[in-house]
Symmetry: C2
Subunit: 634 residues, 2 copies
Amino acid sequence: MGMSTAETLRALLDGPYPETRERVRWWLSRPGNEPADDLPLEEHRARVLEWVKELASEGDTAIGYPVEYGGKDSPGAGVTAFETLAMGDLSLLVKCGVQFGLFGGAILHLGTAKHHARYLHDVGSMALPGCYAMTETGHGSNVQALRTTATYDPETQEFVVHTPDDDARKDYIGNAARDGRMAVVFAQLITGGESRGVHALLVPIRTEEGEVCDGVRIEDCGAKLGLNGVDNGRIWFDHVRIPRENLLDKLAQVHADGTYVSPIENPTRRFFTMLGTLIQGRVSVGGASISASKVALTIAVRRALERRQFGEPGAEQEALLMDYRTHQRRLLLPLAKTYALSFTQNRLVRDVHDVFTDEGAPERQRRELETLAAGTKAIATWHATDTIQACREACGGAGYLRSSRFASLKADTDVFTTFEGDNTVLLQLTAKNLLTDYRDSFNDLNPIGMVQFVAGQALSVLTERTALRKVADTVLPGRDDDADLLAHKTQLDLFRWRHEHLLTAAARRLKGGIDNGKDPFAVLVDTQDHVLEVGRSWVDLVILESFAEAAKGNELLSKLCTLYALSVLEAERGYYQEHGRLSAARSKAVVKAVNTLCGELRPHVRELVDAFGVPETALGDARVVADEQERVPA
Amino acid sequence: MGMSTAETLRALLDGPYPETRERVRWWLSRPGNEPADDLPLEEHRARVLEWVKELASEGDTAIGYPVEYGGKDSPGAGVTAFETLAMGDLSLLVKCGVQFGLFGGAILHLGTAKHHARYLHDVGSMALPGCYAMTETGHGSNVQALRTTATYDPETQEFVVHTPDDDARKDYIGNAARDGRMAVVFAQLITGGESRGVHALLVPIRTEEGEVCDGVRIEDCGAKLGLNGVDNGRIWFDHVRIPRENLLDKLAQVHADGTYVSPIENPTRRFFTMLGTLIQGRVSVGGASISASKVALTIAVRRALERRQFGEPGAEQEALLMDYRTHQRRLLLPLAKTYALSFTQNRLVRDVHDVFTDEGAPERQRRELETLAAGTKAIATWHATDTIQACREACGGAGYLRSSRFASLKADTDVFTTFEGDNTVLLQLTAKNLLTDYRDSFNDLNPIGMVQFVAGQALSVLTERTALRKVADTVLPGRDDDADLLAHKTQLDLFRWRHEHLLTAAARRLKGGIDNGKDPFAVLVDTQDHVLEVGRSWVDLVILESFAEAAKGNELLSKLCTLYALSVLEAERGYYQEHGRLSAARSKAVVKAVNTLCGELRPHVRELVDAFGVPETALGDARVVADEQERVPA
């Protein structure tokens, strides 16, 4: 009789690369591949390295690389594999991300044929473990201000890589403390006495025997809050000399005599083109957060369908936790948002694949992808933090045992909100791209520049520019108290209105502040919370669009989509009322509808989490082994 | 010239027992007493046990006990010492809480002179390490349904303590896995073939040599999410015989022949009188959460006053994180609430001291204390989770290193939201007491009973009853758009209105549901989110009252109090608008005022955290040692 509900939902959730997901699920389910949540630091590091080598030897880690270097030419499948791997040990995930995504990705995207031929195969097979040495102690978000130098010496045709002081040491670098033998080092390039901005160079840091190279100093970052299977470290360079060909020279070349040439004339544009290689990392971290949320929700829902506490006096059994409204709210709202984010992530993966397999993809398409990747990464990683916490609490004391997996889920995902771009900075970047319609200085992370750019535009231009979606006023008339709150069209209209109102108002405030003679930093400070809402409201809208699209023709999904939409409206109902878009009565109706939907979705909750397809091995104490399947309610 | 601002604030924050706080700060500052954030499990347990013994030998752990048993007869100072200890290693805190608060507290409050004389001195000196064996695998929140039995055998004048099955094993019991030699066991007492409800009995579990006693089985709970310096375990009893005098018999006695007598006739009332001993535990956990929040805020604020990132193009220095509005919102709002909670906690400590030093304290006073303790515990522990998370993120990658202290702060406080009463259950208890004006079945945690009780009352009685604070309607006229939002009176009126409106509406809904023929569980489910808001809104109000009272005559505190008040109004502005208590314009003004206040308080932020008086040893990487004091901006 065809597929079960859970199977139907899983096919939708799994998106464009279902066989990739199934292969990773299979690998995670093999004995010995369970998360290593309880190993001492060095043993955990060793175990993770073994796993990485095993995955590499099976060809699972270079999926996004060109075929000639052992890959499968499929960036989309590569990101999908990574995302699914996040259901298991997250140290393994991050170690893979560092090696194949960041280190290998930099060589692939910033290097040229000679680098690909020489290194890429060894990177993909883990024969050459490497680092992505971008962040410095003094500069994390503001990458453009890094202070490590790479000075060209035409005498020897070498670059001299140097750490001027401790503030400029490379910090929190994955693979550095133990395994890495080479690093992609981001440094201020100096030729002919002139600084050319941040460039990437390949610098050996350990010999094949594992000895630290001359002039290099490495320190172990030691124990971290989580991800202790990844060996993060600090690196200093003391006038380390590397040959000229170690410059990753796709975007800029240095001739033997030191002449600097680049196909991209504008140095800021060059810089942000370089940073474009980070996009896959951001998409991957967002996807990993969604997977981790799925694991947490599966564990908590299973428990809520088993655990009884209190209930009708004299009843034969106590009531299931899942039957309490507060418990439904705690779990079903994040469940709905996890679905919503999954469909958004599938869209992002398709976009990544398209952009990275088409050299001729238009600039605007790349910028839109970057914008959505930044915003979704912020929303998805905060969502994981909130969801895992809610699930832990929903499991009470049992959730506090390490064997429940919440310890590692919480600790390992915690850094996602601040690495691959701090969430606050990323939401500002999203807002900035929307406010400037992608026309300002490429992808400059400095929010001050955005203030100045917006202020420099005529208001009429801004207003036109900000009507991004060209929604005619007729589509959004005055408040419509009769529109059906349960219809996706109504929900989308309300989401769209909120974003466009925030966007237009922010543009006016930015411009007004400058016109009134305030300095740009003061204007930014005055409006910063508003600017973040511009980014957030846009991501909310895109997420709802993705969910509504995916839910078409599926009644259960459509209801879950409405729960997502109304839970956002509920949270934002203060704003909607302030602007006359929801009457008091409609606002109360939203709250009531969220409760009603929780009750209606309650009977489907087991199917809804089963559809995530989390391997049993990843569920800790909630794991069901074959012979005790009947213990868990169906 | 008198005290600095920070000193003035500290005197206010430190409350009624400043010398107790200073002594604990001194102890935490001694070399060797830094948090042991990075020890392997068994070493951490051993270190914590040594610390407990050291504190006990110095007389610091029995402060709340009677003088004749080595104490100081000061429950208030005892809770204060505990609260302050929470700035250090939280495993030490919880081990102390188990030994001196729960185990010793049960003997003190449920036992009689013979128990006090025989055990209390040894408990206070840690000569007799013990457990509080209440929770079972199957029953955490619903304690009344515990299934361990203690059957009286008149032949031998013994109780037979027995664990009927694995669901009834004692679980997550602190001190059980390694150190405990005796346990206060909560069990269904059976005499003459009749069950008498849950009672507490002293059961030896290990010999003086540390051998597990016959008939007792103990299993280590193993590694936990946090608090790994505490040895939690599971205990099974196989027909373990203990002498009759081991019943803690203050509230009920069993004669030699098995006759059961109790001064409290109603068994439910007896049960909840027994649970009243938990109050100090809840107050202590709430207080500990506030201390942990202070540690996190001190670390994050220090970093925000040092760390620079981005800023005006061409400016000499980048801008301090603390100067960004988003960063101010992330840190100053929780800072304001931490102050608010501190003053509420001081009030609670005074109430605890009064009630526990006056046998004749009226029943209503006890019930009100229980209600506030339950609600504040929930709000303060959730606040700690949110605040520590916000502070971790505000510190970026540096906050992810274990040496920053966020790893242990996050992990160790995580369980606070669900132990000593799950927060959701506690907020329901608070709401229930308010809805029934303390008149229903004592302190039954089962929310269904509340529905039935409320439904049984005439609506006029409810409405009168729920007007707890006897606020005449004239005090709360229709919306007053002119009242000054910055005045505490306006803020208090709005908070009070919200609570009373929620309370009255909840009573109507509960009664209406039953009157319409719904069964009580369905009525509870329909209204449960509303009922939780009844509890939350009342705690919010009491917190604001405490802060406004403490802030009198201090301009800086008064401004911080307003920030707390307006941040709550901002979060709840959807509700206020729905009910016509805030116009759209006023609602927008609240948001704006929060931003303005952030800017105004920014220059004082260092003083505001210095006033917490967190020992430098508790600040991890943010610690300032004498010779580098100048590194940190004043």
